[in-house]
């Protein structure tokens, strides 16, 4: 990743950070209902990986997926409108925070049953192979997902069929409210499991966008070339609690402090300085990110609610919901 690439990545991360902050604030204002699982702090995983992917690759993410939708082509306006139950939302206000999807740009969904999307990514990779393309599928998931059966079934099947799929674990140290180390038999919940399926398992600094890009690029090239799947475990940390209801009081103060000092945006800013990018140039990127998100908030607020009839649309491929004569 050169300086220009890093600056682009930085701006994307800044947009995500500000979108997440906006989501948080809008929730407190009563404009977002239900819950949110914010990814502030984990931006580098989505942006670094996305920088290494092709537009026709497939991404599957989790309910903590705002950053993946934004990294794969969804706009802050579409995402915030979805969170705010507006007709202009990414999923027409039928999905909400946990199901952000932009199929047109290969972001094939955010799934809220832990681990459920790993087999789907395997299937998308299988489909690419059946169609004779060299597309890649990537499943992003949390550390908690590594203890569910679908994770293990997916790694095995992908390995047996040698499919072009990457399993990228965002290890933020906590499965919801519980330290992942307390409930997992191995120190590296994703990477340590990979050898059991005969596939590579690597660990990367998930807050270092350049390191993530490098690792995904390398593993993607390998997978596209027919050498099969791989696991990448990205060490990262969430700035907010698990969900809106969680103040994350269970996390030791010194741990939080240590990780906040290892913030992905700060790291990228430091690298940009090392690469000779002027502070003013970085500030301009920040200004653009701020402006984009501010406009998105205003546009989402001004957008109408969904038409009531939408509740009975989109069940079937014909657009309807009829189940009987």
């Amino acid at each position: 990743m050169d300086a220009a690439g890093l600056l682009t990545a930085y701006e994307r991360m800044a947009v995500i950070r500000r979108t997440e902050k906006a989501a948080h604030d809008l929730f407190l204002q009563g404009l977002v209902k239900g819950t949110t699982h914010l990814a502030a702090g984990q931006e580098a995983v989505a942006v670094g990986a996305s920088a290494a992917l092709r537009p026709d690759d497939y991404v599957f993410a989790t309910y903590r997926g705002h950053h993946h939708a934004l990294a794969r082509g969804a706009t802050p306006q579409e995402c915030l409108a979805e969170l705010m139950s507006r007709a202009t939302g990414l999923c027409k206000a039928k999905g909400g925070s946990m199901h952000l999807t932009k199929a047109a740009t290969g972001m094939l969904g955010s799934y809220a049953i832990v681990g459920s999307h790993l087999p789907m990514a395997v299937g998308a990779a299988w489909s690419a192979r059946l169609r004779g393309t060299d597309q890649l599928a990537v499943a992003f998931f949390g550390d908690g997902a590594t203890n569910i059966g679908a994770f293990h079934e997916s790694l095995n099947l992908a390995a047996v069929w040698k499919l072009p799929v990457l399993f990228v674990c965002e290890n933020n140290l906590y499965m919801e409210y519980t330290p992942i180390a307390d409930v997992t038999a191995v120190p590296r919940p994703a990477a340590d499991r990979a050898p059991a399926y005969g596939i590579p398992g690597e660990v990367v600094d998930g807050n270092d966008v350049m390191a993530v890009e490098e690792a995904v690029e390398r593993l993607a090239r390998r997978a596209r070339g027919g050498d099969g799947p791989a696991v990448l475990e990205a060490a990262t940390y969430r700035h907010f609690g698990h969900s809106r209801a969680d103040p994350a009081a269970y996390r030791p103060a010194e741990e939080v402090e240590r990780w906040l000092a290892h913030d992905p945006l700060d790291l990228a800013r430091g690298r940009l300085a090392e690469l000779g990018v002027a502070e003013a140039t970085v500030a301009e990127a920040d200004d653009r990110a701020r402006a984009v998100v501010e406009r998105a908030v205003e546009a989402a607020k001004a957008a109408p609610p969904p038409e009531p009839r939408e509740a009975l649309a989109d069940v079937w491929a014909d657009g309807g919901a009829a189940w009987r004569t």
Binding site: Y58, K92, G95, G123, L130, A150, R324
Partner: protein, 326 residues
């Protein structure tokens, strides 16, 4: 092709016809390849289409159905086999939470054109975990189409419709019917999903049945005919789309309704059929409705016990005679 084929052969024939006409159709499941399936319902597919179209999987129900979903979302038409319908519970997340919801919760951004085929039902003495009729499980989930053919011709025709459907279809193949024989359907035979069939006309009572309960209801109708009662037998064919219009039209003639269900009375599909008739056809009825369904216990092993639990010809005859006396 022979004039007469078995239900078992019809499954493979139905899949093969679609694989010939559409190269995006691909099969996956346990033992479905060279082994031809544990029920021999995929015999010949591996030979004709090869390992790139017919894929053996590990015993990983979540991976099978989840991968089918991912492939369906990206341009293939997968036909996934779950060996016994009881095993649907192992991948129920995909049937209940993922496949039927993804189109809706993305605002219509994706379609999921897949078929999950599964061997369903009792009568073969496989015990409690390999004998259930689970079609009512699927009926609890908006967003799934549900097919359960009763004859070889319908297997072929409904398989064609299921595979061509842009919506997900759960396709129940009845184990007790696999060896039954019927007329081979002509080339291009397609039975639209959601079209029930009146398989025996009658004026006195309507028997609504599905899958293996259809031949059972027909046998009961023959017995009843000897008693002077002419039963009309409706083969529902699908639970979703549900052809309520055909049921209501039949009840309009007969004024009496009995459902014949292999699934348990508690939560069985007949409850939905009966509620529609009570709601929209109450004035047509001259008697209470009756549901002949399985007892609400796990399926026992011994034949003598199993026949206590699932509907039999005698049970249907007895219920209809009681109803006729009403």
């Amino acid at each position: 092709m022979a004039d007469v084929i078995t239900y078992r052969e019809a499954v493979a024939e139905g899949i093969a016809r679609e694989m010939r006409r559409d190269t995006s159709v691909v099969c996956l499941g346990e033992d479905i390849g060279a082994a031809g399936g544990v029920f021999k319902t995929t015999t010949g597919l591996h030979e004709e289409f090869g390992p790139e179209r017919v894929w053996d999987t590990p015993i990983s129900e979540q991976a099978i159905v989840g991968a089918a979903m991912g492939a369906a979302m990206t341009g293939r038409r997968p036909v996934a086999e779950i060996m016994f319908s009881d095993f649907l519970a192992c991948c129920w997340d995909y049937l209940a939470n993922e496949i039927p919801k993804v189109r809706y919760m993305t605002g219509g951004q994706v379609t999921v054109p897949l078929v999950v085929r599964t061997a369903n039902g009792g009568g073969l003495g496989f015990g409690a975990q390999h004998s259930q009729a689970t079609e009512n499980w699927a009926l609890t989930v908006p967003g799934l189409k549900i097919a359960a053919p009763a004859t070889p011709a319908d297997v072929v025709g409904m398989m064609a419709a299921a595979i061509r459907s842009d919506d997900p279809v759960v396709f129940f193949e009845h184990k007790a019917l696999l060896a039954t024989k019927g007329a081979a359907p002509p080339p291009g035979h397609v039975v639209e999903l959601g079209r029930a069939c009146v398989v025996r006309p009658g004026d006195d009572v309507t028997l609504v049945a599905l899958a293996s309960m259809v031949p059972l209801a027909l046998k009961a109708a023959e017995v009843l005919s000897g008693e002077g009662i002419e039963a009309e037998v409706v083969d529902l064919r699908c639970l979703v789309p549900l052809d309520a219009a055909t049921v209501l039209a039949s009840v309009c003639t007969t004024s009496r309704l009995v459902t014949v269900e292999e699934n348990p009375y508690q939560g069985g599909w007949g409850a939905t059929v009966v509620s529609i008739v009570a709601d929209e056809g109450f004035g047509l009825l001259d008697a209470p409705v009756r549901r002949v369904a399985a007892e609400c216990v796990p399926l026992p092993f011994a034949d003598a016990l199993e026949e206590q639990v699932i509907p039999t010809v005698d049970k249907v005859v007895m219920e209809v005679l009681r109803l006729a006396a009403y």
